[in-house]
């Protein structure tokens, strides 16, 4: 038997069709206006959890990028201080070689001794350099100056390292242990830079043939050993800078890749959505027109 069709059925299905056309239209319109295809988790439950994950990864990468940038500044601060120390050590080397030539009288030697002592102070000042309020050469005792001005040459920092995270579980040491170069001064007899400088100064002040001989032998040797140590520290610090810069560009590449994935996951495809929107608009208009035409017709229109 054929199905009987009643006006209520036509009205009902017309209303349903218009509603579903309008629902689809509303959906596309919110996607277009927000630019997102995941407006709430039920739109794409897995996608929504992906968005959370990816967004956190992006935030993490921003942190890592900030850490790397901070680490580069730290290492650059260390680098320029060590560069100063290096130049000062070259000056001491020159002074030491000149003094041993024997053409200087004691008064000249005394003023050279004063210069060396002043250089030791300057070097200690360089070692007390700060980055963002932190003493970069103090190990983790970043609030304590590693060396005091004056005669005390004891290292006040510690041997611990300061590091910056540049990836999940990946940290780079940005601090340089300057006490391996500067040491603890004359009293410790550790042969480190401050000990050597104090000895040189003392030998210059003494001015004896023996002292002069020591200047060119043990003192110069000690100085050169320390120059070698410094260049090693500089080289390690340089490679830290390189590593951090490399990490920065790697992080930027990752940020690009993850942003793309995030956009693919949550952003509406404007071209597709616009076309869908036009289609839905046409469908809605058609549903309205069909409804308006069909619902009005009845046998009544033709009976007189």
């Amino acid at each position: 038997m054929d199905q009987r069709i009643t006006p209520a059925m036509i009205t009902g299905s017309t209303v349903n069709d218009i509603n579903s056309a309008l629902t689809a239209l509303e959906r596309s319109s919110s996607e277009l206006s927000s630019g997102k295809k995941i407006l709430e988790p039920s739109d794409d439950p897995y996608g929504a959890s992906q968005v959370i994950d990816l967004q956190s990864q992006l935030d993490g990468l921003s942190s890592f990028a900030a850490n790397a940038k901070d680490g580069v500044s730290w290492a650059t601060t260390s680098e320029s201080a060590m560069q100063n120390i290096s130049e000062l050590m070259q000056r001491v080397r020159t002074v030491t070689v000149q003094a041993s030539n024997g053409t200087y009288n004691q008064s000249d030697l005394n003023s050279l001794a004063t210069e060396v002592t002043q250089i030791a102070e300057t070097i200690k000042q360089d070692a007390n350099v700060q980055y963002a309020g932190q003493y970069v050469f103090a190990g983790t005792k970043t609030t304590t100056p590693p060396y005091q001005q004056g005669e005390t040459d004891t290292y006040a920092g510690n041997g611990e390292t300061v590091s910056r995270a540049i990836g999940p579980g990946a940290a780079v040491t940005v601090s340089t242990n300057i006490s391996t170069l500067l040491g603890n001064g004359a009293e410790s007899k550790d042969g480190k830079l401050l000990d050597v400088l104090r000895t040189i100064s003392q030998h210059l002040t003494e001015g004896t043939a023996e002292s002069k001989a020591a200047l060119t032998s043990t003192d110069l040797k000690g100085l050169e050993a320390n120059i070698e140590t410094l260049s090693q520290l500089q080289s390690v610090n340089g490679s830290t800078t390189d590593q951090l810069k490399l990490a920065t560009s790697r992080i930027e590449a990752l940020q690009g890749a993850i942003s793309t994935t995030l956009s693919n996951t949550e952003d509406a495809n404007l071209a597709e959505t616009s076309i869908a929107f036009s289609n839905e608009q046409a469908a809605y208009t058609a549903a309205l027109r069909a409804g308006a035409t069909i619902v009005q017709e009845s046998l009544l229109n033709f009976l007189h």
């Binding site: 199905q3 009987r4 069709i5 009643t6 006006p7 209520a8 059925m9 009902g12 299905s13 349903n16 997102k36 995941i38 709430e40 988790p41 039920s42 739109d43 794409d44 439950p45 897995y46 929504a48 959890s49 992906q50 968005v51 959370i52 994950d53 967004q55 956190s56 990864q57 935030d59 993490g60 921003s62 942190s63 890592f64 900030a66 850490n67 901070d70 963002a132 309020g133 932190q134 103090a138 190990g139 983790t140 005792k141 970043t142 609030t143 304590t144 510690n158 611990e160 300061v162 590091s163 910056r164 995270a165 999940p168 579980g169 940290a171 949550e266 009845s298 046998l299 009544l300 009976l303």
Partner: protein, 437 residues
């Protein structure tokens, strides 16, 4: 034996009366074409008992039966009770899935994800605060940043937990309102019981209580949205109604058994509401998943920051920040510049707490989506069955208009027959015996 002289008038009259009743019914159908629950009726006409003309009366010598017109046997209510049962089953299922979709969608909107202000981004901001502290372990501002981020995060988790509890509470209130003494279940059930009584009396009196039957069917339709309804028709015209998984019938004859215990297995709106807040229900599961996220977060952070716990509380509702900025330590050692602890906590990003939360968002999204899909399917099925029912019972105006013409013409023709009979009798009465006058 001959035919009674006035029989023709009676025959025409029966036609007039029957056509008039048919017109009345058609008029009633048209008047009710938009009435909810109305079942179209039609007049069943049958020939009146004939006059028996005995043998040898006709020329051929055989007997005959002469029709005496028409009578109305009954007004049929055109309805299919099998479709009613199907409609009600589907209506319960649809009502259950729309209730679930509605409540879970509320829970979903409480999550406010994905967004830049949801718990996910606040958790991310919390890790970033630790990362900043690792860069400046001695900075008071960085420590304050950690505490602020932690406070925002715990506030959001507390609020979400509170909203989930509120939704569960509203679900419970809805159940109480529906099942209470002035609730819809009681209301529908007593109306059905009352109609049962009236229908029984009417049927005993040999009447066809069509409009009361319509009312009772409409009430059963409405009842089926609250829980599954099974109707068994009794010989005395009453309906026995089972409701959900209640042990006794809700309506039996003229008596109502309510309140009774029903569970999530009851189906319909009530079943769905009871299911959501049951120990294995979707809302309960969301709450306990959120608790587990809060607990994981507190445990993992506190384990690394072992000088003072950062968080107190083990559930989403009780999670609080337990430290001041001064108590936040970037390192376990005494040295000011150490940052091992801050680095380790920042490294928790993407860990169990965050994954747990992402899974929770996926869980709420998937449950809303499933409910929506079920709702959409249920709607389509219900529309199909509803249309089938309409197709049988609905009033078609075109059809009624055609009937109207046909009955009107029948009435006119019966009236014409009456006129013809009248003029025949006039000839007999007025003009007989006047030949040649």
């Amino acid at each position: 034996m001959s035919i009674p002289t006035l029989q023709g008038l009676q025959t025409a009259l029966s036609g007039l009366l029957a056509e008039q009743q048919a017109l009345d019914i058609t008029g009633n159908n048209i008047a009710n074409s938009n009435t909810e629950g109305y079942t179209r009726e039609s007049v069943v006409m049958q020939p009146s008992p004939p006059i028996v003309i005995p043998a040898l009366s006709t020329k051929t010598g055989e007997g005959a039966q002469l029709g005496t017109g028409v009578s109305v046997a009954t007004y049929t209510r055109i309805r299919n009770s099998y479709l009613d049962a199907q409609y009600r089953t589907q209506n319960s299922a649809l009502s259950a899935s729309s209730t679930q979709a509605e409540e879970l969608a509320q829970a979903q909107s409480a999550f406010n994800e994905p967004s830049s202000t949801g718990i996910a981004s606040q958790m991310s901001a919390f890790w970033t605060a630790w990362s900043s502290l690792a860069n400046s372990p001695t900075s008071e501002a960085a420590k304050q940043g950690v505490v602020s981020a932690a406070q925002q995060l715990t506030t959001s988790i507390n609020e979400l937990s509170g909203q989930l509890t509120t939704i569960s509470g509203q679900v419970g209130e809805q159940v109480s309102a529906l099942t209470g003494p002035s609730g819809e279940v009681q209301n529908y059930a007593s109306q059905i019981a009352q109609l049962n009584g009236q229908i029984k009396l009417a049927e005993q009196a040999g009447q066809q209580p069509n409009s009361m039957l319509d009312q009772r069917d409409l009430l059963l339709d409405k009842l089926s949205s609250l829980a599954k309804v099974t109707v068994s028709q009794q010989p005395d015209g009453t309906d026995t109604v089972s409701f959900g998984d209640a042990s006794k019938p809700l309506v039996e004859g003229t008596s109502v058994n309510w309140p009774q215990t029903i569970t999530a297995a009851a189906g319909g709106q009530l079943g769905a509401l009871l299911g959501l807040t049951s120990p294995t229900g979707a809302l309960t599961a969301l709450g306990s998943s959120l608790d587990s996220v809060a607990n994981t977060l507190a445990a993992s952070v506190n384990a690394l920051h072992n000088s003072t716990p950062i968080f107190s509380g083990t559930t989403a509702a009780t999670l609080k920040v337990a430290v001041t900025a001064a108590q936040v330590k970037a390192s376990a050692s005494e040295a000011a510049g150490g940052n091992a602890v801050a680095l380790a906590i920042a490294n928790l990003r993407g860990g169990a707490a965050e994954q747990g939360y992402a899974a929770l968002v996926q869980q709420v999204g998937a449950s809303v989506r499933t409910a929506h899909d079920e709702e959409a399917t249920g709607k389509t099925t219900l529309t199909t069955i509803g249309n089938q029912r309409q197709s049988v019972s609905g009033v078609s105006l075109d059809e009624e208009m055609t009937n109207l013409i046909s009955f009107q013409r029948g009435y006119q023709a019966s009236a014409r027959t009456l006129t013809a009979m009248d003029s025949m009798l006039e000839t007999l009465i007025e003009h007989t015996g006047q030949v040649g006058l």
